[in-house]
């Protein structure tokens, strides 16, 4: 425990964790006490009972944060900074012995030999029946049946103790002895001076857990870890040797060879016979593996492995508790080159890392893929003018565009000067403009939404008032609207391009349909008596539309805008994931390809907060503009 509080971040996270636990306990006790004193209201289902209760909000927030800290193993890292490194060494031993352990009923239910016999017997039984099939003549039936019988005998030979060759037995005994030796080494817990020096060096030079890539550094930084690390290579070698041991006596090999030629002799001419030959061959290849041993032949290896495991557990000591309690939902695995976190430690990024990554991304000079998340950039006015003014304006200026002369200069004339302005090719001052992934996404939503409102609301009002317009446009809108926007995306992005145009058009389609329907509902819902009143007050058709029907439809229109924002936001992110080079969805898609869970979570949180912001703005707008809603 002396290695607690290695880094300031660790101290902070540990303190935060404890503070959160205290907060949770305090808020819960406080809430319980309040609940006990507030028993004056005896009505179950009274909605007033759900009001207030901010201490429960505190409990809820504390619980979420605690769960995050706990399941992301951030708490484990703060309290036990070396645990991952030590568990990495243990994992090295575990992955070394897996080829051996998996042959025995430790984690499996059956001994591998039993399993193989079971499987092969079933297959042989099927072949035995198929050999008697009527596609073969009687002579073939007999020949094939005999071959199946020989395979069965060969398989049974493997399980007979008498057929175990002395060489194989010696090899197995050797394996057991070597495992025992490694076990003794682990049990003795002694390290060479070289190993101790390596530990010292790793302590000083190697980055801590999560401080660099790979996440869990490989070289042992504690003596306990070094002991595990020291026997891992030896165990890997033993496992390789064990896998190479086969139950193959000379007599067995001779029979395999004889069977092989007998099966080959069946020939390929006759299709059914050829098929059966292939099956027999497959069966022979399985049996000649020699992976089945007589009962008892592997007992010594099994015993040695069991001993190794119990010594391993004993040596792990407190690591057993840390592993199962502080690092829930997964474990440290050792791969070919490095150790890594698996389970929730992997896909749930640690809060402290997430904040650090966010701060890195938020720095406009770094951003993501050289584009900041959100920033202010100086942009020349000329560029914007060039974007807004269409280039073809210059075509209408009299004269011809100048051509370059022999000395390479180009004489400007009025036409080319107009073209320069239309393309934004003139000196101008710069103004600050927001930029970045987040801004791109927001602008796409706002532009698509704006266009949707601009075209959707008038059409919707018209459809609410005119039978012709309703009948004519209804089929069009009702046919494209039920299609999920993303189903349109591939087509739209192909037609309009994967950059802004395609996405804005897609969002326009989404917003347009919603706005048409809500404006139409609003217009249809206007009380006839209000229209009558306006008529007899002398209003013209246009004035009635502008002063009665439009304001009367405002609640529906604003609700439509609120729904549109939500749907557009969802569609946009999905569209950005499909294609493009900027936007929050793009960031998440790249992060997904790189399995960068921190950035994935950051984009999720950004998306959630922006969606919430949009909705809060709309709620505020609704409260301000239509306080009379539902009070007419």
């Amino acid at each position: 425990m002396s290695d607690i509080f290695q880094s300031p971040r660790g101290i902070f996270i540990a303190a935060l964790f404890i503070a959160l636990i205290c907060t949770l306990i305090w808020a819960t006790i406080y809430g319980r006490r309040l609940a006990r004193t507030e028993v004056t209201d005896l009505v179950f289902g009274n909605p007033m009972k759900a009001m207030g209760g901010y201490h429960w909000v505190v409990s809820g927030v504390a619980t979420v944060l605690l769960l995050w800290l706990y399941f992301s193993w951030d708490a484990a890292r703060a309290f036990f900074p070396n645990a991952a490194n030590e568990l990495c060494q243990v994992a090295k031993v575990e992955s070394a012995v897996i080829p051996m352990r998996s042959a025995f009923p430790f984690e499996e239910r059956l001994l591998r030999g039993t399993n193989l016999l079971n499987r092969d017997s079933t297959q042989l039984e099927i072949l035995r029946k198929r050999a008697q099939s009527d596609v073969f003549d009687d002579a073939k039936k007999a020949e094939l049946g005999a071959l199946v019988e020989r395979l069965t005998v060969l398989q049974t030979t493997l399980a007979t103790p008498e057929s175990l060759s002395p060489d194989t037995k010696a090899a197995l005994d050797d394996i057991a002895a070597r495992i025992d030796a490694a076990t003794a080494k682990l049990d003795a817990a002694e390290l060479s001076s070289d190993a101790l020096a390596a530990v010292k060096e790793a302590q000083e030079t190697q980055a801590g857990w999560g401080a660099a890539s790979p996440e869990v550094p490989d070289a042992p930084v504690t003596e306990r870890g070094a002991i595990f690390a020291s026997i891992a290579p030896e165990l890997t070698q033993i496992a390789d040797d064990y896998v190479a041991v086969r139950n193959t006596s000379p007599a067995f090999l001779a029979e395999v060879e004889s069977l092989e030629s007998a099966i080959k002799a069946l020939g390929k001419e006759d299709k059914p016979v050829d098929d059966f030959r292939k099956q027999l061959n497959k069966m022979l290849k399985r049996i000649d593996d020699g992976a089945v041993f007589p009962p008892g032949a592997l007992d010594s290896v099994e015993q040695s492995l069991a001993n190794l495991h119990s010594v391993q557990l004993a040596q792990k000591g407190s690591l057993n508790w840390i592993d199962s309690l502080a690092m829930p939902g997964g474990k440290i695995l050792s791969g070919n080159t490095a150790c890594s976190e698996q389970g929730s430690g992997r896909w749930l990024p640690k809060p402290s890392d997430t904040v650090a990554t966010f701060l890195r991304l938020a720095d406009p000079d770094i951003g993501f893929k050289n584009i900041p998340l959100l920033s202010i950039k100086q942009k020349p006015v000329a560029e914007m003018a060039g974007f807004v003014i269409p280039d073809w304006i210059a075509d209408f200026v009299p004269g011809e565009y100048p051509r370059h002369q022999a000395d390479g200069t180009i004489g400007e004339n009025l036409k080319s000067k107009v073209l320069n302005i239309a393309t934004g090719n003139f000196p101008s001052f710069s103004v600050p403009v927001p930029t970045g992934h987040v801004w791109d996404s927001i602008m796409r939503v706002i532009t698509g939404l704006f266009l949707g409102i601009l075209f959707g609301v008038p059409l919707g009002l018209l459809m609410g008032l005119s039978r012709l317009a309703k009948g004519f446009f209804d089929p069009l809108i009702e046919l494209y609207r039920p299609v999920p926007p993303l189903a349109w995306a591939p087509l739209i992005l192909t037609i309009f391009g994967i950059q802004d145009d395609g996405k804005i058009f897609l969002l326009f389609m989404v917003a347009f349909a919603i706005m048409v329907i809500s404006a139409r509902t609003g217009a249809t819902g206007t009380q006839l008596s209000k229209i009558h009143a306006a008529h007899s007050l002398g209003a013209s058709r246009w004035q009635i539309l502008r002063n009665v029907i439009l304001p009367n439809s405002l609640p529906e229109i604003l609700t439509g805008i609120r729904i549109s924002i939500g749907v557009c936001w969802g569609t946009l992110v999905a569209a950005e994931m499909l294609a493009g080079t900027t936007g929050v969805g793009f960031v998440e898609n790249v992060a997904r390809k790189q399995s960068d869970y921190e950035i994935i979570w950051i984009t999720i949180i950004i998306l959630g907060l922006l969606g919430l912001m949009f909705d809060l703005i709309m709620r505020w707008v609704i409260d301000k503009t239509i306080p009379w809603r539902g009070k007419g």
């Binding site: 008596s529 209000k530 306006a534």
Partner: protein, 265 residues
């Protein structure tokens, strides 16, 4: 000259099912300038249809409607209307509701404001100009509706059960207000109502209509509106003559309703 003349008005509705409903049959009357007319009748006798025809929301299928010597064709400012629920524009303030008609005419703002204040004064809503209409009580809303209609200076004021949704006390105050406005402005006013008492109080002339098809059944010339200008309305109601006419009309309408029930049963 500004008389409202109805000649043999016929109105038949064709339902979506193809069924023909004869709402009004051969209705003829002349309403002279400055007259106060109330129309009474059992439900379904075509009172509201008649009002909608005069307002210009409907075109009669037969006969002719004339105001100021010109045929009625479509809604117009000269025929102001007050609706049962007020039909106020709840997104506008009281003042904006009242000067709605003036704004539609694009008359000068300063003059509008002066007129609005004048009319708010008359209907007893001084100082409520900036209040949103949805914050007003039912009676106050109806006062706004009155002012909104009157500010346009219409020749005829059509009222479609304007006081139907009010409580008894407010109703009586509003009845006095209608009488006061009638007297001070000298407008022609036509009121449709369900209440026999109200019809008696607010009608120099009173039409009782009969249903199926809707037609004028009987016409009365009554003194009570004149009395109401000088006396308390409750005193008017206590008068023997008032009670007698009331009972007579109630009996008439009762019989009509009975007849309808008998027909349908």
């Amino acid at each position: 000259m500004s008389d409202l003349i109805a000649e043999h008005i016929d109105m038949t509705f064709t339902m979506p099912s193809g069924e023909q409903v004869h709402a009004l049959k051969d209705v003829s009357f002349t309403l002279k300038e400055g007259e106060l007319l109330s129309v009474l009748g059992p439900s379904g006798c075509g009172k509201t249809t008649l009002l909608n025809l005069i307002a210009g929301f409907l075109r009669p299928t037969g006969g002719r409607l004339e105001l100021n010597g010109a045929e009625v064709d479509g809604p117009g400012v000269e025929r102001g209307m007050v609706f049962q629920q007020g039909a106020l524009f709840e997104w506008l303030t009281v003042a904006e509701n009242v000067d709605f008609g003036l704004r539609m005419k694009k008359s000068p703002k300063a003059e509008n404001q002066r007129k609005v204040e004048e009319w708010l004064d008359i209907v007893g809503l001084q100082g409520f100009g900036d209040t949103p209409t949805y914050q007003l009580s039912g009676g106050m809303q109806q006062r706004v509706a009155l002012a909104r209609c009157l500010i346009n200076d219409p020749d005829v004021i059509l009222m479609d059960e304007p006081l139907g949704a009010l409580d008894a006390l407010t109703r009586e105050k509003m009845q006095s207000l209608v009488l006061k406005i009638w007297k001070e402005t000298g407008k022609t006013i036509m009121i449709i109502t369900h209440s026999v008492e109200e019809a008696l109080l607010l009608g120099e002339r009173l039409f009782v209509m009969a249903p199926r098809p809707g037609r004028l059944h009987k016409e009365y010339n009554l003194p009570f509106a004149e009395w109401g200008l000088t006396q308390d309305l409750r005193d008017v109601k206590k008068h023997d003559e008032f009670s007698r006419v009331r009972e007579e009309i109630l009996g008439m309408i009762w019989n009509m309703e009975e007849e309808i029930m008998g027909k349908t049963a």
